[in-house]
């Protein structure tokens, strides 16, 4: 059996492990346009922040490929899948044959058209290790940085570089920070935390044009001078290889619950895939690392012949800035239970006898117990919801349910 994986990040590595649990004999070839050993993409901001060294960024032990008998072709670009011939064509003309193919191509930065952007020399995206390494070279205490985008990527980049530059301004056309994961109140708390660190936010605004390589004119009429531009507006799933081969795609490559695409023997996992969102029962790109790992594992097992489905993908995020912590999961709909102190904030959203989502800023201890209620769709009338609302404790479960958790192998 010839397994080929396009991509070398979380989904790919977890697929390799899953394949090898079942098939020690088949050949596995990994193709990636990145030359690095597999690393967790979200680590790049922590690298700039000084929380992890380059040496420690490898996602698995350095003997991983050897131990799993994987052939790596790194620094190559796959340009075409021929699903009838079952080959992947590389940019250099080589053709790689496969019996089972996993597309784990991730996503890329989305850069909207902005007039004059070509004049800006010092501009960076913030997705890959190489982005972080080139941005790092440009950093300096006298540098003025403009970040376009106040989402997860823009703000983690901000945390990574703030202490290494002179000043950071963040511009976003949305009216608040982290709109994809927080409600308005939560956004304000984080914005204020970051403003106290000296960051300037310009919201409800966007770049009309770059008048020269170091100045942005905003739609509001403001002119902003900068030395370094970081573009963190959004991402797009890398679907083209499958789409061009005739596979069904929406915003991501559509997969079933086994991570199969609409093309025979081709699977997709991770940020490039639109797979089942367990909570809305729709196909979505749930671009977060845990889902990439779980989808990759499911794909790997199925590729090696073990039928398995992954049905519990949910949106969730753990993020924080300069020592603060934010945890979110699910969707913010239904009735709300909330608790606030000067430094903490918790909202639980519930409806139809189910916990639908939560936002916690500050006291994140044992938040996974809430996540498990969402992930397991635990009926709230089977637990002491009044108790668990206040504190995530196992005491809220029945004695029998607790015994399963604490006295049996799980």
């Amino acid at each position: 059996m010839k397994y080929v994986i396009i991509g070398n990040s979380t989904a790919a590595v977890n697929a390799i492990e899953a394949i090898r649990e079942i098939d020690r004999e088949g050949s596995i070839t990994v193709l990636s346009d990145e030359k690095h050993f597999s690393y967790g993409r979200p680590l790049i901001s922590y690298y700039l922040y000084g929380k992890i060294s380059l040496e420690n960024m490898n996602y698995k032990g350095l003997d991983f490929y050897e131990k799993n008998d994987v052939t790596t072709l790194l620094g190559v670009t796959a340009v075409k899948i021929d699903s009838e011939k079952k080959t992947v064509l590389l940019e250099d003309g080589r053709e790689i044959e496969y019996d089972k193919l996993l597309v784990a191509t991730g996503s890329r930065p989305f850069v909207p058209p902005m007039a004059g952007l070509e004049k800006v020399k010092e501009k960076y995206s913030f997705m890959k290790l190489d982005d972080a390494l080139s941005l790092e070279k440009a950093l300096g205490k006298d540098k003025n940085v403009l970040i376009i985008g106040a989402g997860l990527i823009g703000l983690k980049c901000l945390e990574g570089i703030l202490d290494r530059v002179g000043k950071v301004t963040v511009v976003d056309m949305a009216n608040r920070v982290l709109p994809s994961i927080l409600d308005e109140e939560g956004s304000l708390i984080i914005q204020k935390q970051l403003e106290e660190k000296g960051v300037t936010f310009i919201l409800n605004d966007s770049v009309a044009e770059f008048s020269c390589g170091t100045q942005a004119l905003l739609k509001s009429g403001k002119a902003l001078n900068f030395d370094i531009l970081v573009l963190a507006v959004g991402v797009r799933a890398n679907i083209e290889l499958v789409k061009d081969a005739g596979g069904d795609c929406e915003r991501g490559i559509l997969t079933d619950e086994s991570q199969k695409t609409s093309l025979p023997d081709i699977y997709a996992a991770g940020d490039c895939a639109a797979s089942l969102d367990y909570l809305t029962n729709t196909k979505k790109v749930l671009a977060l690392l845990p889902n990439a790992a779980l989808q990759g594992r499911t794909a790997g097992h199925n590729m090696a012949g073990k039928e398995e489905t992954f049905t519990q993908g949910i949106p969730m995020n753990a993020i924080g800035f300069f020592g603060s912590h934010v945890m979110t999961a699910g969707y913010y709909e239904g009735e709300v239970y909330e608790e606030k102190t000067s430094s903490t904030y918790k909202k639980l959203f519930y409806r139809d006898n189910l916990l639908k989502g939560f936002i916690i800023i500050g006291d994140i201890a044992r938040a996974g117990i809430y996540t498990s209620l969402i992930r397991n769709k635990t009926p709230l009338d089977t637990i002491d919801f009044e108790l668990i609302k206040k504190q995530p404790v196992l005491a809220a479960f029945s004695k029998e349910a607790r015994a399963k958790k604490l006295t049996e192998r799980v």
Partner: protein, 145 residues
């Protein structure tokens, strides 16, 4: 693999296991040096209404979602099946805290990295100190398959 299990009906709620855990993972010579100090044990006793008490620590799940969720590859499973953490790799994002259904992975002292029970394999005890010192066999270390 041997794991820690609890006998809820025998737990007195004395919280001694929390001290034994903190002591086992400290470099202190005697337990009394913990007097007056904040402790950061990897085991946690829940005290509920009606005299219910029990200890909770890592279950070393067979499909450990913390391992799958770790952005740094800091959490992994060793050759015996124990879930271990490499704190040199941990960046303290606490995605593990977000996903652990038992609330058994937590920030370590100082709040920079995560910690979890590793069955006292990384300290001088070698075997779980909470189990060794539980006065009532309310925490046991057994192979239940």
């Amino acid at each position: 693999m041997k794991r820690i299990y609890v006998n809820e009906q025998w737990c007195l709620g004395c919280h001694l296991c929390e001290y034994e855990c903190a002591f086992a993972n400290s470099n202190l010579k005697e337990m009394y040096h913990l007097k007056g100090k904040s402790i950061f044990p990897k085991i946690h006793v829940e005290d509920a209404a009606d005299g219910i008490h029990y200890a909770v620590n890592c279950r070393h799940c067979q499909e450990a979602i913390c391992v799958k969720s770790c952005i740094a590859g800091a959490l992994s499973r060793d050759e015996n099946g124990m879930v271990v953490i490499d704190q040199n790799k941990c960046v303290g994002c606490y995605t593990c805290v977000l996903v652990c259904p038992f609330g058994a992975v937590m920030p370590a002292e100082g709040g920079k990295v995560a910690q979890k029970c590793e069955l006292c394999t990384k300290n001088a005890c070698g075997t779980p100190n909470c189990v060794a010192h539980c006065p009532n066999n309310a925490i046991v270390f057994e192979d239940r398959g």
